[in-house]
Symmetry: C2
Subunit: 219 residues, 2 copies
Amino acid sequence: MAGSAPHTPLPTEREISARHGVSRNTVRQALNALEAAGTVYRVQGAGTFVAPPVVSKSLALTSFSEDMRERDLEPASRLLAARTVRAGRRIAERLGVEPDADVVRVSRLRLADGSPMCLENVHLPAELVPRLTEEDLSGSLYELLGERYGVRIRSAEQIVRAVDLDETESALLGVPVGSSGLRVERVGLDRRDTPVEATTTLYRADRYDIRFTVRRTRS
Amino acid sequence: MAGSAPHTPLPTEREISARHGVSRNTVRQALNALEAAGTVYRVQGAGTFVAPPVVSKSLALTSFSEDMRERDLEPASRLLAARTVRAGRRIAERLGVEPDADVVRVSRLRLADGSPMCLENVHLPAELVPRLTEEDLSGSLYELLGERYGVRIRSAEQIVRAVDLDETESALLGVPVGSSGLRVERVGLDRRDTPVEATTTLYRADRYDIRFTVRRTRS
DNA sequence: CAGTGGTCTAGACCACCTT
DNA sequence: AGGTGGTCTAGACCACTGG
């Protein structure tokens, strides 16, 4: 069951394998997944054990909506702007397109339980998402991209920084001028590791944190 | 070679397997590691390909010294304080000990290329590291823990927040009062997922960022 | 030293992409 | 339809833990 006491040993891999009529390799693959999820830990020569509860799962790529629901907050969205513009040098570099290429920019204020959580600025190559600005942009952009345009984001590179919010940002987020915020720059990649989305998100420092587990890589 | 053009296909798994006289499973395991490191990507039914260069590797647990060297900065350290104190409620909770248990606290100002990068506050259960305060604390604490006490940190849970620096913090870090900083709270775990270290690190926002790759978990 | 997880082999079938 | 990566089987040996 899910609620076993921490450090309780699981049956050995050979036992699970025999009892369920699957090969040991298959058992190992399943245990690998549980280990990556932080559910169990393994000690060579000793066994596999139930892991103590953790505050943070290993970091996965999630949409704002998924992220908020995991925090037991109700996500919502207010569209600020959606139009096609020239990419410019910085966005072009992140998306791997020419600086004078057209990109669609979608700016949204995102709310959690009715009050501001972050400012989100998404850039997409225009040729990838024709007539996106005419779509309903109040919900999940990732879902819209997948269902309407067949664009599926499989991984993302992120850069996290602390910043001082300017006047406009503070006003929109409803915090005092000069407050600090968490800025996340993301480049979303498709299954071929090609950039399809460049997003900058500015979170309120007083409402948001990032939690994750890191492991030592064996040399 | 390391420098093949992005999207160049690798030989098929069966071919690598045959050519090197190893089983296909072994080849797959090696490719899994390369994929996790962001060196290659795979498309089912199509092949394995050289991945485009990335700004960010997948996040691993590193010491300050390793982290700085990866950024081409020279790490250094100034010891501010090292003494044994009562854990207190918050530290006790993070370390999983009693609130009145003894913990060793080591405060250090950490420098990169000679100027302040972050303030680091490490807490360790006192019984785990007898006479730690008498050791040389100017270098890598992780190495000292491993070699002197046999304490090896294998993974860590981290919480990242943006904060406003107070007067003391600003002064030590050499930035204007009211500047924002990046606060990383870490709990280091041993191979049995037992807490052995609680560290709070306060980074200068103007010199530090966190970069990492995230992937979508298949449901 | 017995038993555990870690690695490897040789082979099979499935799911998916491409032509 | 043919070839790719994804998953699985059944069995072997190695590296490590712990009494």
